[in-house]
Symmetry: D2
Subunit: 134 residues, 4 copies
């Protein structure tokens, strides 16, 4: 994977209810961080996920690959960043989570597709919104 | 990935708080289902994750790859199944979630390693517990 | 509060991702357990929350009072039970969570109302469904 | 309940994974918002919950009462505020969540106690930390 420049970044912090008994953030919560980042990115690009739904477009996650490199702990602040790639109907979000000193916490690819009436679409409408990032 | 026979299966059902606005189970919750399945499998193998922690062994997720094939919805029951592979220090849980009619919902590989005092171990103690499954 | 006989009970078990760093179930998760119990109770009474939504009725929680008496821990199984009371437009779910030895874990009252087009209704349609429990 | 001035406020925003099928924030997530607010308040007062745990003090929620007045939705920002009262061993957090236009979203009382070796303490150590707020 060739790394491109991030097109969206958001600062976040660990909340203690996200920790598990090992006092590290539970693996599933990183998917929450990444989803929030994608949704904020979309909103900033001019369309929220709720807007998409209102237009009958359902954005669905098809594949997630995450490498967990470091653990986040109580009190940690971090940056969740992404850049976007399109491969046919697939929108591939390359998502990194970094500590404030730039240590990589997680590295992920999240593949989304756009459904209309439950059927796969090419996602052209959505691609237009993201045109400047592709 | 060559499919082996599952060595553990558990029946579960969707809970409505796991659904998102699209009325399908949120992608992060499948990681919860899979974690619960691994922990139940461990407990059945004679050692719970809490036991491991009490012995100073911290089981940590290093990598997750999930393909989302079908969506689970309100009222759905499903089976969460796994089989286990060891590659050096890595314990690879091959985890499938299936509807009651055997439709595949998600297919995943979850790679775990065992830390002691924050350092990677070979995980031999844990491998012994799982000996009959490897 | 006069205790009535429970009209619905469901057996559940703690999942490790519900624990916090203190190794006890996080306080918010009891609300999840209780919501799941209410929804199962509704489904058993002949109408799911999704059915209600499809009919334009939105069941909304107005008030929650929970006493946390004992803590649930890894490996615990428990019973989540409820009985129902109606006070005008308010449906009051009296919800207890008990360990298998009948120790009380939490005792709660959850008040729900039914909205249609965002406006409070008397909830008569829903009361009919619950008639035999009221 | 006489309202006192808030001694801590934090700005937050809704994350879409916190919404349920009704497109409003699920009732349990408000407990998460409030817990995060308490923990941030403690950290600001000079001691984090992790510090307390390290000293052998376990802060436990004994009672939660929440009134849900308005619903939060996708894209909403809000303020989570609290003021603190002590009644013997009980620390009562009065917690409000307000929209940016000051509309009250939820009003809650969260009662916490401090345990040491599983036994109730008077919580004097913790009260000292909060002295200027009591």
């Amino acid at each position: 994977m060739k790394s491109k420049e991030y097109c969206y970044k958001i600062a976040m912090e660990v909340r203690d209810y996200e920790l598990d008994t090992e006092a590290i953030v539970n693996n599933a919560n990183y998917l929450h961080y990444m989803e929030h980042t994608r949704h904020k990115f979309c909103a900033q690009s001019g369309v929220s996920f709720m807007d998409l739904q209102a237009r009958g477009i359902m954005a669905v996650v098809r594949k997630v690959e995450v490498e967990y490199i470091e653990s986040l702990r109580s009190g940690d602040t971090f940056v969740s960043a992404l850049w976007l790639e399109r491969k046919g109907p697939r929108f591939i979000f390359h998502q990194d989570i970094l500590k404030t000193d730039d240590t990589l916490v997680t590295r992920a690819c999240v593949t989304c597709v756009m459904l209309r009436d439950g059927k796969l679409t090419r996602g052209d409408e959505v691609a237009e919104l993201f045109a400047r990032y592709l």
